[in-house]
Amino acid sequence: MNVDTLYSVLGLGTVAFPALLLSVMGLTSLLGWPLGERTTARATQGAVIGGLLTAIAILAMMLASGTRYVPIELGNWEIAPTEHFHFHLKFVFDRLSVPFTILSFVLVGTIGAFANRYLHREPGYRRFFLLYDVFLLGMIVASLAGTIETLFLGWELVGLSSALLVAYFHERPAPVINGQRVWSVYRVADAAFLIAAVTLHHLTGEGNFAGLMDKGFWPEGVAELSSREALFVGLLLLVAAAGKSALIPFSGWLPRAMEGPTPSSAVFYGALSVHLGTFLLLRVSPLLDLSSLLSAAVVILGLASAVLAAMAARVQTDVKSALAFASLTQVGIITAEIGFGLRYIALLHIIGHACLRTLQLVRAPTLLHDYHSLENALGEHLPQQQAGFWERWVPDGVRLRYYRLALERGYLDAAINEYVVRPFVALFHWCDALERKWTDVLSGTPSRESDHVPPTMPIGEELT
């Protein structure tokens, strides 16, 4: 077996383990032979360890041989030759994808082991692990994607599993409403991504990152686009990244995502999912070099998100939301680092931050318990923080405004509801009323039987 074959086998193994895990879990559930908790845990453990070992083996081989770029070609998924159209399935192992893949396996594996106990005998145990498997596969595919279409594939899997996991406790309306909200933001991000991907195809004739970046391996690649083209595609990708990483103006979904079970909050919104947007920016970072305007936009968006999140984090009343905004602060800074061209620093920042945040979120439920134990032992409340600089020097009125701004998360959700959702819904309700009149006139009688299907339990919040 030569080195190339070994790379191929190991590379395929990295993707095949999560894919196999999802196939087994999905098929057994569908056929009505659900796996028991122990089998599920072992299968998950096996797949994660298998994938992780293959990724580490590739890393070791790359380090030993000094190779910086290992492509794994799976050929064309679909092809229309005379139209020069094909969906190219390709995975790459390079300085960006290998650390991110290993990080994904480590964190997802850790959370898998944690969730196995945390969700023991929960009615939704299997549903959680099925979605967890979809997420794992999505993360690995997105991390290793060698073409923009392959990245989109993984991106979508991550989005769907995330939204459904936010709505994990689906017998209550609030998680479901929040899941829908997360999904709405993700669809906007996905639409921007898809348009960017197709535009990129048409501008370069390539979806292949290696071809797109022309010379050099990540992060030294040079994109073959003009400055204006790079700005257009880059801004679309920035919208996609902002949606996925909860940057302004989409920050509102992040605290909503904490409605899901702690394990999924920890690994998805605290650690991996929230960094996927920044990963995308890193992957297409050669585009940023072509347009200083685009780089400036990335920096401004990152810093603005960081400032807003830092403000919001200080007024949260529950630990998970506070951690969510703390996480967003760091993601904003990472985005700014990418805009400044500090690619390796951003990558290191992602890895360190993801690990820390996973630990904090997993620790959060027991932390409160520990505080209570401490207070019981002391026989009094723990000492409160003394008034600091801001309390002493900033007038009350300004602090109150600042507090309200932070509490309302910069009024971003309210603005989206007021200026996007409400006019949209009003417009289509008006169209619906017009249609009703028209069909009533045509039929000569009230035309809608559906009017006699009344709701029995109104929904608290309008979903869109």
Binding site: F424, T445, T464
Partner: protein, 481 residues
């Protein structure tokens, strides 16, 4: 090399027709369901046989000495690249609809008329002569109309639109046949208007929502999901319509796709919601058809297939839920997941396939459609993506409202029946299988697209269409991946 000719196509049309007569005579509703099921199974077998036979001939035109040729004349009913996979798809939709009909609904469901409509549909999809297609399209209106009448429901909205549709078809085809440049232009315009009405392009779409309001869910589903309007467009309009006409249809279809996707988000009731989701998706098929480029047309034909499969599954799931709970309000949470988990999975899967989610049968077509659209104009591509995103919001919102949000408190057992489970497994296999291994479908649809464009080129005398047919000029964009 000579091939033994087996009259699969004729069988696929005659079996449901004869079975309809037989089922009409049966007095026992359970027996009617069983016999209909057997007839639909046989029809499906015959249609698969006709596809296989066509594929075995490697796409060569039908043998003129077929039984149909002897009965009704040469070239009247035959399988070609466009219709070959549509026949089994349509037969499958009928078989699954009958299979997923619960016993509580068997007494009221008009199986005989269902079989008649299946025979008409299969004949329509295998017809190539314009006047035969028009006659069959007109005949296809009768079964739902009879059902509406028998249920004492208002028929006027449906009838007004369908009469308009047939009248436009007849006059349009008449003028196009008479010939002369001005006559042909008017004829094409009228034919265009006809297919727009049948497809439910805004503002001529109200008949579709009205049909879903008043007819049984199964009948409405089977009348709209095979998308015979798109078939009529491909056979009657595409070959002779000038570019401006296609562009006009494209714009209207795009507007409909966006409008219907927006309307789906504000619906209060499940059937109307489904109707708008379907309308949005079928309009996207139309957008692709009217691009008249190989890539766009291939994407449209792929989406046609995937939308047919996924939205019938989606509709059947809603129908099964409705059979348990009555008409479903979308203003409340129903929390049915714990009671019917398999149906909820199918609901999610089919809805995701309909919006072109990766790994499902809809993904490939959606991607080709967007790629083809960008070739025509970037804004067209962007509008398709926006419509698809809105549909994505609508379908997950419906999933959440039907299956989650509360605990369903009923004490009646709602679990899915064996027949429903079979339907679920068949559809899941096709949706996932088609998503993971799309190449045969893409190749077949690409071939159909190039044939349609070649025919257009021939009919238009090598005018503006020449640049579209066949392979692209080298200077044109090349979306390689």
């Amino acid at each position: 090399m000579s091939h033994v000719y087996v009259p699969w196509l004729e069988g696929a049309i005659l079996v449901p027709l004869l079975a309809a007569v037989w089922v009409r005579l049966l007095r026992n509703p359970d027996m009617a369901w069983w016999h209909s099921m057997i007839a639909c199974g046989l029809t499906l077998g015959c249609s698969v046989g006709s596809w296989a036979q066509f594929a075995a001939r490697d796409g060569v035109e039908a043998d003129r000495a077929t039984l149909a040729a002897r009965l009704v004349g040469d070239g009247v009913l035959e399988v070609d690249t466009l219709s070959a996979p549509l026949l089994p798809l349509s037969a499958l939709l009928y078989a699954l609809t009958v299979l997923a009909t619960l016993r509580t609904k068997v007494r009221r469901f008009p199986f005989a008329w269902l079989l008649v409509s299946e025979a008409i549909l299969l004949a329509t999809l295998s017809a190539k002569e314009p006047w035969i297609i028009i006659a069959l399209l007109a005949a296809g209106i009768v079964p739902p109309w009879v059902e509406l009448r028998s249920r004492s429901k208002p028929t006027r909205v449906f009838l007004v639109h369908m009469i308009l549709f047939v009248a436009l078809l007849v006059v349009g085809q008449g003028l196009a046949t008479i010939g002369g440049p001005s006559m042909t232009v008017v004829g094409v315009a009228l034919l265009m208007a006809a297919v727009l009405v049948r497809t439910g392009i805004v503002p001529a779409h109200c008949w579709m929502t009205d049909l879903f309001e008043h007819a049984s869910f199964g009948t409405a589903l089977l009348f709209v999901t095979p998308m015979v309007g798109a078939y009529a467009a491909a056979r009657l309009v595409l070959p002779i319509a000038p570019d401006w006409a296609l562009r006009a249809i494209l714009v209207l279809s795009l507007a409909t796709a966006l409008y219907a996707a927006g309307m789906a988000l504000v619906q209060h009731e499940a059937r109307r919601f489904f109707c708008y989701v379907f309308l949005s998706n079928s309009s996207l098929v139309f957008v692709g058809l009217e691009m008249a480029t190989p890539l766009g047309l291939t994407g449209a034909l792929c989406v046609w297939f995937s939308v047919g499969l996924s939205l019938v599954g989606f509709g059947l799931t809603l129908r099964s839920v409705e059979a348990r709970t009555g008409r479903l309000s979308l203003d409340e949470f129903h929390g049915l997941f714990e009671h019917i988990p398999k149906l909820s999975v199918l609901f999610l899967l089919t809805s995701l396939a309909s919006i072109g989610f990766p790994g499902t049968v809809g993904f490939v077509g959606a991607e080709m459609l967007v790629d083809g659209a960008i070739q025509v104009h970037p804004l067209v591509g962007i509008a398709i993506v926006i419509a698809s995103a809105l549909n994505g919001l609508a379908v997950l919102q419906a999933y959440f409202r039907v299956f989650t949000g509360t605990r369903h408190g009923g004490s009646i057992d709602l679990h899915s029946r064996i027949s429903e489970r079979i339907a679920v497994l068949v559809l899941t296999a096709l949706i996932i299988g088609g998503g993971l291994y799309p190449q045969p479908g893409v190749a077949s649809r690409y071939r159909a697209a190039t044939e349609l464009l070649s025919e257009r080129q021939v009919r238009l005398g090598g005018g503006t269409a020449t640049q579209h047919a066949g392979s692209q000029p080298a200077a044109h964009h090349s979306p390689a991946g």
